[in-house]
């Protein structure tokens, strides 16, 4: 095994590098493990055979290498899989972990996993669950990462001053490059309720709660500029500023900044938010797993239900979910409040956007 890098802090490059390197290492070791097992059964063309089988079954098969982890995990969880029988100690927990890991890696490759320690803990736990059964060496690394992250998060680990910074795994280069633009965009336009880190926008507007109107610096009402979005934007800003207050709007794209508890904060848009009318999922996924039960959303991480865990009434959102989702559907949400069903391949599609007050209290920014 190559680098056995462990994080020393929340450095995004290192975190991304470790996630990416774990993926490559697990893929390499798992495919070698399977190859040895199949060869022992005089079945060296196993990858080609699986490919032919899937194509004959009219199932999509786009993998070019047996060391593509998406292929191994995807194939292993299928009931008619040949791989399934080769993995020792396989059980439903392994299948669930493999399925979730595949979805997480798909998010990583679409730059939708937050590059932080919480995500690294989640990913390394899944890698451990998937690779320890076959006794792969990478599971030791995954466990060491888990242990280190837990210690850092608990404040029990101090970054050594004298030691050099951890080696950034070579595998990090590509994935961090892909993330760079996403991170730059997030800094410019962070999720609603997050700290505004850019320059202060030039157009100052004042929200008046008595007249339910928005005025510019000359006292001229500008709410009509919002057209059909007027009520929606007023309601959103009054959530942030119940007494009324000021927002500063970027004339170029309508992004709005306001002060919340003394901190410059992204408070939405004067007008339609970009991609409001598309189903593109924006932002980084929260490190919680959810399930639609048929009548409610359950946070599987905390074992709590949405209906009694919100600041505001969530019944409208739950009614909409009842109309479009089957019971037992898994859900993820991003820090932009975009709710979606996780997928193992391709880009997920947004079901709806939710304000922090109608989602589990304290989970969305702001």
């Amino acid at each position: 095994m190559g680098n056995f890098t462990l994080p020393v802090d929340n450095d995004q490059v290192i975190v991304l590098g470790i996630m990416s390197a774990l993926e490559l290492e697990a893929a390499s070791e798992l495919s070698m493990f399977l190859d040895n097992r199949f060869r022992a059964e005089s079945h060296p063309e196993w990858f080609e055979d699986i490919r032919h089988y899937r194509i004959s079954m009219n199932q999509p098969f786009s993998y070019k290498s047996p060391s593509d982890l998406r292929f191994i995990l995807g194939e292993a969880v299928l009931e008619d899989s040949q791989i399934w029988h080769q993995i020792p100690k396989i059980n439903q927990a392994w299948v669930n972990a493999a399925h979730t890991l595949r979805q997480k890696l798909n998010l990583l490759h679409h730059q939708q996993l937050a590059p932080n320690l919480q995500t690294l803990l989640q990913i390394s736990t899944l890698f451990d669950q998937v690779t320890s059964g076959p006794g792969l060496e990478v599971s030791n690394w995954a466990r060491a990462v888990q242990s280190r992250v837990k210690n850092i998060l608990a404040g029990n680990y101090t970054k050594p001053e004298a030691e050099p910074a951890p080696v950034i795994p070579a595998a990090a280069e590509e994935v961090t490059k892909e993330y760079e633009e996403v991170i730059r965009q997030r800094e410019k336009r962070p999720p609603w309720g997050s700290r505004w880190t850019g320059t202060k926008p030039s157009r100052k507007l004042t929200l008046d709660r008595q007249t339910q109107d928005i005025y510019d610096d000359n006292g001229v009402s500008v709410a009509e500029e919002l057209g059909d979005l007027r009520d929606q934007v007023m309601a959103m800003w009054l959530r942030y500023f119940p007494l009324g207050g000021e927002v500063w709007v970027d004339p170029e794209d309508g992004a709005a900044m306001g002060y919340i508890k003394g901190t410059a904060t992204m408070v939405g848009w004067f007008g339609a938010a970009p991609e409001d009318n598309s189903d593109t999922v924006r932002g980084f996924v929260l490190a919680h797993e959810y399930e639609f039960t048929g009548s409610d959303v359950k946070d599987l991480t905390l074992s709590i239900n949405l209906a009694n865990s919100t600041v505001e009434d969530s019944s409208e959102a739950l009614t909409r979910l009842r109309q479009i989702l089957e019971p037992a559907t898994r859900l993820n949400i991003t820090d932009f409040g975009d709710l979606f069903v996780p997928v193992s391949e391709g880009e997920p599609t947004r079901i709806m956007n939710l304000h922090k007050n109608v989602w589990f209290k304290g989970q969305l920014p702001g």
């Binding site: 007494l243 009324g244 207050g245 000021e246 002060y259 003394g262």
Partner: protein
Amino acid sequence: MSDNEVISISKCEIELIPGTKTYRGKPISARGGSTEQAADLTTFRVTSSDELNLMVGLVEWPNDPPEVKPIDLLGGLTKHESLARRGSMTLSESRDGNWLAVLKVMKYSPDKGYFTLHGATTEEIDQYLAYNFEELALEMGALRFGTRAEIEGETSRTANQLAMVVEPGDIKSLAFAYTVTRALAVINDFGLEA
């Protein structure tokens, strides 16, 4: 750049402006029954991360209790206007001849729809200050800190009020107390989410 002493407290900075000026007005304690009179004014400026720029003064009247009051709101948000209109702090003489400052806090009143002065516990203040209020107050120069019962031995209905005792004219301690209980309370929307 000013050479004046600046104290950073959470999201605010206090600039202590040296010297004393003459101030003309009526003491709060006179409740309109007095004619305009001259007093000594020592000022400090409170600025914040959310654009507050407020001049505040310690007014020492010749025959009435001293008070800390807003002088001029030079800049800020709509919600900061409540600091210009309310939140003066009247001081009284403590048992030992120092000054007693009652530490009421600007708190949002849902019934009234604006901020007014309310009693608060140190725990509540510690929470929005993100620091130990008492510890900081003593560090800034307060002589005693606690309820009026604890620091003055009072037994009246105001005995449970939070207060501190400072040396007469100790502008640093008073500016600190004003900033925490007035400016920072409004900035942090104290009472708004309750």
